[in-house]
Each structure stands twice: as C-alpha cells, then as structure tokens.
Subunit: 342 residues, 2 copies
C-alpha cells in the first residue's frame, strides 16, 4: 500500500495530512549533538551506520510520516573532489571558488557508485530499517550549489553569482547544466537504492527576480525534473523567499512545491495551481513560542488547506537549533488531530 | 506646480516615470567615500552642512527626480539616548538590547527640536538648495527598529524579536507603539521643515508570515499612517521580501508601496490594487551587469507599468557599494526615454 506521504504528494485521497520536518535530524536533538562531538557533519554523511542512526532517530521520536536522508547539499561536490568545508555558524566554504570556464573542468561527472558509494549504502540501510515509513532522498538545487561554488561561501547579495549570470550567461548555463547532471545522478542513485520521494533544496533561488529565474534557472530545472520523471517517485522542489516565484516554479515539472512562511499557504497553493501538491509552511521560529501560539498557527495552516488535495505539513525552513524537541512532538499531534477532522 | 515625483505618488498625470534610488548617496560615490574618511555615518547625519552636501550630490550627478534626506534609521534612537553604533560591514549594533518591560523606559518620547535639531536644520538647508526637486523624508519602520533594539544587531532568524512578539504580545505592542510615536515625531519634524514626501524603511518586515504581520504589525502601521495623513504629503512604505505581504501592506494607509525585485512589478501592482502607487523594483546587483542587460531589465519594468498610473522607478533595495556611478546615470536616461514613449 502506498504510504500516506506519497499519496499526498500525488494528490491522492488521504485520511489526514502527513507531516515531517526539514532538518528533523539536527542540533536541536541532544542525541545528535552527542554524535557531533565525535564526528563532523560531512563525516556522518559518509558513514552509512551513523547516517542511518541519525536519519532514523527523529522518525522514532516524533512519529513523523517520512524520513529524510541525513545529508548536506555539498556531499556530491565533495565526492567529485571540490575542496570545501562546513564551517560552524557560517555554512559551506569553498577553498577555491569557481569563476572561469577552466574552473568548470573541476566539476567532473559524478559516478555515484564510485565517488559516493556511502550514499546508496545509507539509503539501503535506512529503507531496510524504516519499514513502512517512506524515505525522502536529498539534493541541493543547481542554483544554490552554484551560489556556494561561485561566491566561495554564504552571501547576502549573491553579486558574484549574479555577475557571472549576467556577464557570461553561457558559462553560467554550462555550470548550471553540470550541476544539474550531478544532482540527477545523485538523486537517481538514491531512488534506485529505495528512496520513495526526492526533494531538491534550492534554498537561495529567492534572491532572483522572476524574470531572471525564468531565463537562467527554470529551463535547467525543467530538464532536471523531466529526467527524474522516469524514476516514478514524487519530486519536491523547495526554496525560501519564493512568494514572487511560485507561478514560475510551478512550471518546473516538480510534483510538490515547498514554500516558506512568508506567504499564506492557501494563496501559495492557488498560485501554483490545483495540479501540484504543496508542502509547508510554519515559521520555524514559532516553535520557540508558547504552546497555544504554535497550535493556533498549525490549525490555521491545516484549516486553510482543508478540502484541497495534496498538502504535506512542514516548516517553512529547517528546524532551528534552539527548538525544544517536545514542541515538535506536540506539533505532530496537533497536525494529526486537526487534519483528521478537517 | 507639483513636482513630477509627487504627482506620481498621488497617481496623477505624468509626462514620464520619475526615478530616484534608495541609498543614492553612499559608498559607491568617490566623493562620499572621501567625506567618510573624516566622518562617521552618524556624524554626517548630525551635521546639517555635511548632510546637505551628501544629500545633494547624487541629485546633481544623476539628475534624479527626488532627493532623499541622508540619514540612518537609528538617528532618532540615538537622539533619545539609546547607545548604538553603526559597525562597518555589520550594521547597527545596540550596546544594551531591550528585552523587558523596564527596558522600555529607555525609549523616552522624542522631542525633535531638542533631541535632534540637526534633522530639521538639514531638511531646511537641503530644501532651500534643491529648488524644484522634492526632498523625501526618511525614517525606519517600528518593526525594523525593534529588530535592532531586541536582537542587539542584525539577525537572520529574528528569533529574539519573534520570541518577544509571541511570548509577550502586550510588551511587544507597547514597544511598537513607542517606536511608532518616535517615527511619527521624527517624520512630522521633517515634513514641517519642508520634506515633500516621507518614506518609511521597514526593511525587515518580510521575515514575518502574513498572519503575524497582520496581527502584530499592521495595526501599528495603520495608526502611524493615519496620524501622518494630516501632513498632506505622500507616504511611502518600503520593505524587502514582501511578495507575500503586499495585500496586507496595501491596507496600511500608505500612498505608495515600495517593493524589492523578488516579485514582478505588474503582479505586485495588481496585488496592492489600483488605489495605490508603487515604487521599484530593479535588482540592485543588476547595476554590476553589462549595459544592455540593465537596459533590458529597466525597459521591462517601465513597459510592464505602461498605462498604470502611479509608478516611481527605483531599485528594489539600496545601491550596492560596488556600483559604477555611470551605470546609475545611464539608468536614469533609459527610464526617462522609455517612459516618455510608453
């Protein structure tokens, strides 16, 4: 029987709204923090045993309706030899940023079984232990990967990345296509190993105007989602600050659009249209609020989506490190109860 | 005769689209950088002569249709004795953040003529020298001011500010009302000294969900804009990442809504409705692009707004320090030419 989560992605009939959380395995968990005392984030991704443990923990603790592979968007970049580090409280930092046509050669073709066998190994192990709970595969979006490669790290204005995009659109496109190919191979490996759905984290696309998104990013995403179609698993496409991009993202070929909290969810659902499912959209900071505030906001989201097929409850971005685990547990219960009766 | 800029704010007939730029006086200008070698940013705001010089320079250089008072949103906070500094490459840093009811007492009532006489003095001097070009008064929005006061500086998640908002909505509202009163007095002083329009920079409201914005911020803004109405000058309300908030912002009572580049301008204009003017929305990073890219994007904005009354051309946020002054000069020409024939 198809899982509740996958049925919601496919806009099928569901008995209630499925729920999971981006970064449901993370620093808010004491158990995760203990693992991190001995291992770096990327080490966890490269060790199937630990990756499995970390991926499964929140599923057991929170009773969410889906697991997501514990990973980082930079995993396939490291796997082809790009020198980078995840710096605490900063983010991914690339030792030698890519800025010229010759730099492009450093992005060689990803061969998952050779370059990152630990990814499929982790997926197989997790799927075997999960039982009926579906696993979501994990990858970064080409534009977001490009932002780290070109800027050299996190950025507020993305001026180098946008500079490349406008000054040398052909080189920018070549970079995007290479990253799309990498993302494709990375996700195919996960689906073939048993992932029941795939999410592309394209967090920073919201820094683009709709015109630039349509011209420089959308065609690449359309090609990527088209090639992923053959896997016959739902494809989720997520970014933040996308309230002005939703109509364009809806043309990407994804099955589910993930939205942040900066747009009302019913408005967002109307903008993407009835043919697509939607995932979101509670403000992650709200989990630091009193219980009744969280409950009220969760009920508003479930209520707004009542009668609309294809809603997966989630936060609008990853769980914040300061989040009390109990707040997430209670949120799962609220969504279950409210959506049963909606 | 009413200026072109004010007529556009009032959705009157115009012969072409007026244009000015947020942060048109700033680090991209060699002349400004020379002033900053001897004076700190806040020192400039406190010296009417220098403030006048800095405010007028881009008007002469770029031939824009409006000047904006060179200022910083923290000016009135400093004027009532809040200890803060503008730290280079960081932003405003507050020595002792406000987090309790007793902290609120530190925000005493602003008396512009005593606490910041240099503000009205600068406005008078600038207006005298500007001739027919209108001057826009400058203030921060209460929510954005509160973000610095509560967080202690810039933030990505605004978790402390939001925490206060959800945990103690009454204290949050009291803080917002005090800041709204400060903003009101700060703007009244500027209008009485001759400012022809007023802009409220509420840059960070886009971190809120529409529901939180409506509940915790909109009522305060409605009160503020209502009280500003008696001044009979156009009131502009600007924030970034507001594509999901536009319908709510349109209910604030402002005459003009300023939007960033993350939403298509005609879409944004439709969302705020025909009763309001709109200002924006070229991506500031685009000024680092080749000339034909800038021209194409500017023409697209002017073209999209053709036949819609009430458009003021601007960037979607402040001019970036790396911007070549010539790019801004050419952009003004393009907007003039294109909108004459639109």
């Amino acid at each position: 029987m198809t899982s509740l989560f996958v049925r919601a992605c496919e806009r099928g009939e569901v008995e209630r709204t499925p729920v999971w959380f981006m970064r449901q395995a993370g620093r808010y968990q004491p158990e995760y923090r203990r693992v991190r005392e001995r291992l770096r984030l990327l080490d966890i991704c490269e060790r199937p045993d630990v990756c499995t443990e970390v991926t499964l923990l929140p599923v057991r603790q929170l009773q969410v309706d889906a697991a997501i592979l514990f990973s980082d968007i930079t995993v396939p970049l490291r796997a082809v030899g790009i020198g980078l580090d995840i710096v605490e409280n900063v983010g991914p930092v690339v030792a030698e940023p890519l800025r010229s046509a010759s730099d492009l050669e450093r992005l060689r073709t990803l061969v998952p079984e050779e370059d990152e066998p630990y990814v499929a190994a982790a997926v197989r192990q997790i799927v075997a232990e999960l039982g009926d709970v579906p696993l979501i595969g994990f990858a970064g979006g080409p534009f977001t990967l490009a932002s780290y490669l070109v800027e050299g790290g996190p950025s507020r204005s993305y001026r180098r990345l946008k500079g490349l995009m406008w000054q040398d659109p052909q080189l920018f496109r070549a970079l995007m296509e290479r990253l799309a190919d990498m993302t494709l191979r990375h996700l195919v490996a996960q689906a073939e190993a048993g992932a029941a759905a795939l999410q592309i984290f394209d967090s920073w696309i919201g820094c683009l105007s709709p015109a630039d998104y349509r011209r420089h990013v959308l065609p690449v995403m359309q090609g990527l989602f088209r090639r992923l179609e053959a896997l016959h698993v739902p494809r989720i496409y997520f970014g933040v600050e996308t309230a002005g991009l939703l109509e364009a993202m809806a043309e990407s070929g994804a099955d589910v659009i993930g939205v942040d909290w900066r747009v009302e969810i019913r408005t967002a659902a109307d903008r993407i249209g009835p043919e697509l499912a939607i995932q979101g959209n509670l403000d992650p900071a709200l989990l630091l609020a009193p219980e009744d505030e969280i409950a009220q906001a969760a009920k508003a989201i479930v209520g707004a989506m009542g009668g609309r097929r294809g809603h997966i409850f989630n936060l609008g971005h990853g769980v914040l490190p300061e989040t009390p685990p109990d707040a997430l547990r209670r949120l799962v219960e609220i969504v279950r109860q409210e959506s049963l009766h909606a």
